[in-house]
């Protein structure tokens, strides 16, 4: 079994992902945002359809205008018109396409996080199928069913809390704090402090 990375290697690795995320997709890392997109896939689908029909409408409108222009001024007016029109439409479409990342892309992101974890576990010899989370976790919570119940409720708190706070460890903690955004600094201090207090309380029950 391989040792975990020393702290500096972890820092370089995590920072590398945060930075790469910006350079590859043009925005900062945020996993709870991907969750929101995947869970709200129906809304996202509706928005995709809306954007698409908007683009199509725009195309139709242009055709109609073009036909009118042709009828009114004849062929020669087309050339000068074309230059202007091309610039306008292409930039607008680009902006829209860049803003919208469909929910399936976010799902791929989440699923590949699982694949990455699997790969890391197998290559380091840490992979082991278990029905519980860890020895200490079972010591704190007890029998298997109690562990599962704790995980279910913990999960609900994590899901609800991150959406309510507008970010999680990656969005607020890493991306937000790296840019010194006040709300992110407050959020990060709050969730770290809460986790620390509760962990000390749980430790005291052992």
């Amino acid at each position: 079994m391989l040792e975990y990375w020393p702290w500096w290697a972890g820092a370089i690795g995590l920072a590398g992902i945060a930075v790469l995320n910006y350079f590859l997709v043009g925005r900062l890392l945020g996993v709870s945002g991907s969750w929101a997109k995947v869970v709200g896939w129906k809304d996202d689908q509706a928005r995709s359809a809306e954007l698409k029909s908007l683009a199509e409408d725009k195309g139709e409108m242009e055709d109609a205008l073009l036909a009118e222009t042709l009828a009114e001024f004849g062929e020669e007016s087309l050339d000068e018109l074309k230059d202007d029109a091309d610039i306008d439409t292409s930039t607008e479409h680009t902006v829209k396409a860049a803003q919208h990342t469909p929910w399936t892309v976010h799902l791929v992101f989440l699923v590949f996080m699982f694949v990455g974890g699997l790969l890391a576990a197998i290559t380091s010899g840490n992979f082991q199928v278990e029905l519980t989370l860890s020895p200490v976790h079972s010591q704190i919570f007890g029998d298997n069913w109690e562990v599962w119940l704790a995980l279910l409720f913990g999960g609900v708190m994590v899901g609800f809390g991150t959406q309510m706070a507008g970010g999680c460890t990656s969005g607020h903690g890493l991306s937000g704090c790296a840019r010194l955004i006040p709300a992110s600094l407050v959020a990060t201090m709050t969730f770290m402090a809460s986790a620390i207090v509760l962990s000390f309380l749980m430790e005291a029950t052992l």
Partner: protein
Amino acid sequence: MKQSMSKQYLFYAFLGLAMGFVVARIGFADYDELHKMFIFADLRMLYSFAGAVILSMLILAPFSKKIPRQNKIFQPGTIPGSMLFGFGWAVSGACPSLVFVQLGAGKLAAVFTLVGIFIGVLLHKKIHARFFRWDTGSCGV
């Protein structure tokens, strides 16, 4: 920045893969390591996290004007939401990304966390639309 669809899928898949791998190798998916960090018995992972924040800050600083504002505003849910998340993290050992890494390490119990997070996100969506209605900002969307 215009990107074709397939490129988006490829980039996000790569980022997910890299993140899952790195986070697992640091040890974040290991509840015992995480618990040790939260009770200050071993600060290695905390240093990794803090180091990553400082490194990203330095590397991203020259681009700060170009990075799109991601609407991270202080809103009524920031503090209660973060508290809830912190408690949930201490109990389940999972944040929205760690749950996948735990599953990748073979911890089947994390399926319960996965279902829990799904319910939590859905619940917030419904309750927010019905009762809160304030702007929560967004997380990288």
